[in-house]
Chain length 404, copies 2
């Protein structure tokens, strides 16, 4: 743990920002452009490296950090934060938490995950088209990380205390989630009055999040030779009415704090079959249900089970595979209300599950706010523009420097 | 090749039958009961080993011969047939063909496969309940093989020439089929006016066989996050109307030579799914169609495609995976008509595909006839009774010794 007293915060900001802009400076002859910790930045010629926020985002996209491989990224972020004497920086695994300690009445936590999904369609090298950055993680969520790092290095005297939380392994099974590790090992670092998750939201507040659950439904049948199917019962054929019901599902659209959620039910996988000439005696379908935060996991599971019940019989099998509670919008909280106001636009519901629910489960109201289009997440063509980055930074700077 | 002149056929039958009965004789102290070639016969205590046909069938079940492991079984059959001086015995791979050469006007070929499916439910050791033999292959088709071997060793002067054909690898992919090997390497050995396949048929003639084909239908969709499925299209949901149509299929029941066939359509496997939170962009179903022998593969495929067509769109994929033509009943042929007459019962249609079609494809009319219930094939509890074996042997002996 590196502890720097806030009394040393008179170090010139320009110097520190120069360090960040340094990722775009011309490298020595024959050397590749280098990120904050010397990690090579690929795919962008040194002489076209953009300045400022876009340059920072480009540098971050240039550091590979697919889930479970966040170490270099965490090193870079840690090194950058340690340049700021007003931040206490703590490293836990590949998670980095940096906090001000200004004795303010409120503390706002801003969190973002360091990892990305695996590359797709050759998007592992960043490239620029005008002032838009393309590359793995550009939208989800290195654009958001760039905004956070930019502000962390700029706001030496915010009007609320601020916790910057950079965590690993959000894009994989929850057991690996860095935030989960922090809650288990250092919950003190995550204490806050409200939290903002920097996932891409198009620069709007996406409030709360829907819950999610998966159930595996196994339909039974009886094997027989396909020339004499009447001697058995085809479990795959039994999928037909069940899938018809699932496909016709119309989800509830409850409005909470002015945000309309939209429940969904999707078959995400199906499987069945014994051999080329055998009537299958088993067919399995996995359903993913997304439910509004006015329902618990138990209520949501019960609702889906009731829907599917007419197609189930003795001998079939129902299994809750996994589930995560949602989080209500909590827009009545002063910090989140101020965030919405700073965007100048009404909040909308977050229909996907995010770690907002993890904060809510620990009593911290939270919302999603970040640059880039959320529909681009996990696509080969994800991107973020300089304008989106600047707008998100302006909203957060306004929130964190407002008179209180 | 072993050639024995029929002029040596005066060797006493009793002697040879004693050799077969020898499988049931009390072995030397401490030794296991042994089959014709010394292969151990397991699961039946020597002092309870039954006599005659049932004993022969028990010995054959006691020789493991799962597909691709037929060598010991082929050795045993070859050794037994070579005891009969009126038979030319030829070994090709693990196939054994034994022929009389009496200069008769007609030649009847009797064929049976040596292999079994893998054991199920501990049925790899034969056991007797009264005069019923249980064990792997008892019904499919070591009961039939026992009848053939019994008659081969008994009928030294049949009224038609006879070809006994024992072949390997019928229960696995057709490329391995021993009959196919014989057609390729020694078609002369399979020349005949008519053929009888000793598959289990309950002691009736099961005429011809239905054809079979499999098609793989791949439905396309578009990926999306399951929280926003409206951004994509769920290919698994598209299975619903297709499977509804398949499940509601009512097959034709054409009557040919007095035998009613019954066409079938079954989904034998289904597959789809990308990840826990992704709307699947692909779903695949494999359909198995059994069609009556008044249709070709091309006609049958076209009929199924027409049925499914309303559910297909541009971007979907249709693939004929494999197909085998059926065989008509051919009950007008004098040998097959005489076989039906010998059973004293009307023939019925064979709704499954059998190697009858292989003979028909080479111009040889053929039918299925053998002891045991065909519905027991490939089940853990397959069995055959002494009465069934004796009845089948009597029918074939009558056919092969009738005045012509």
């Amino acid at each position: 743990m590196t502890r720097r007293s806030s009394t040393t915060s008179s170090a010139p900001m320009g110097c520190r920002r120069d360090r960040w802009r340094g990722v775009g400076s011309t490298p020595p002859e024959g050397a590749a452009a280098a990120g904050p910790t010397g990690a090579p930045v690929t795919g962008v010629a040194p002489d076209t490296m953009p300045d400022g926020l876009l340059g920072l985002a480009t540098a971050l996209v240039g550091i590979p950090s697919v889930s479970h491989h966040e170490e270099v990224m965490a090193d870079a972020v840690q090194a950058a934060l340690e340049l700021c004497p007003w931040l206490d920086v703590v490293r836990v695994g590949h998670n980095v938490v940096a906090r001000t300690d200004l004795g303010r009445d409120r503390r706002v936590l801003l969190a973002g995950h360091l990892d990305t999904v695996p590359p797709a369609g050759g998007n592992d090298e960043p490239h620029l088209e005008g002032s838009t950055l393309y590359g793995l993680g550009a939208a989800d969520m290195k654009g958001g990380l760039a905004v956070f790092l930019h502000l962390a290095g700029r706001l030496d005297t915010p009007t609320t205390d601020v916790t910057w939380c950079f965590y690993a392994a959000e894009e994989v099974a929850h057991e690996h989630n860095g935030l989960r590790q922090l809650w288990a090992e250092r919950p003190d670092l995550l204490a806050a009055d409200a939290a903002i998750l920097g996932e891409p939201t198009d620069g709007l507040v996406e409030a709360g999040c829907q819950g999610t659950l998966r159930v595996r439904v196994r339909l039974a049948g009886a094997r027989a030779h396909t020339a004499r199917p009447y001697a058995g019962r085809n479990a795959v054929h039994r999928l037909a009415p069940l899938l018809t019901t699932v496909a016709a599902y119309e989800g509830r659209r409850p409005v909470i704090d002015g945000c309309e959620y939209h429940e969904q039910l999707q078959a995400v996988s199906v499987e069945g079959g014994v051999a080329a000439n055998v009537v299958p005696d088993e067919a399995t379908v996995v359903l993913n249900h997304r439910f509004a935060p006015d329902r618990t996991v138990a209520q949501a599971e019960s609702g889906i089970r009731e829907l599917v019940a007419p197609h189930l019989e003795a001998g079939d099998h129902w299994e809750l595979v996994d589930a995560s509670e949602g989080a209500p919008p909590s827009l009545g909280h002063p910090v989140l209300a101020a965030l919405v106001a700073a965007t100048g636009t009404a909040a909308r519901a977050k229909v996907g599950w995010t770690d907002v629910a993890s904060f809510w489960a620990h009593g911290v109201p939270a919302a999603n706010f970040g640059p880039a289009d959320p529909l681009l997440a996990h696509t080969a063509g994800e991107h973020v523009s300089a304008g989106e980055l600047a707008a998100a930074a302006a909203v957060l700077e306004s929130l964190l420097t407002a008179a209180i």
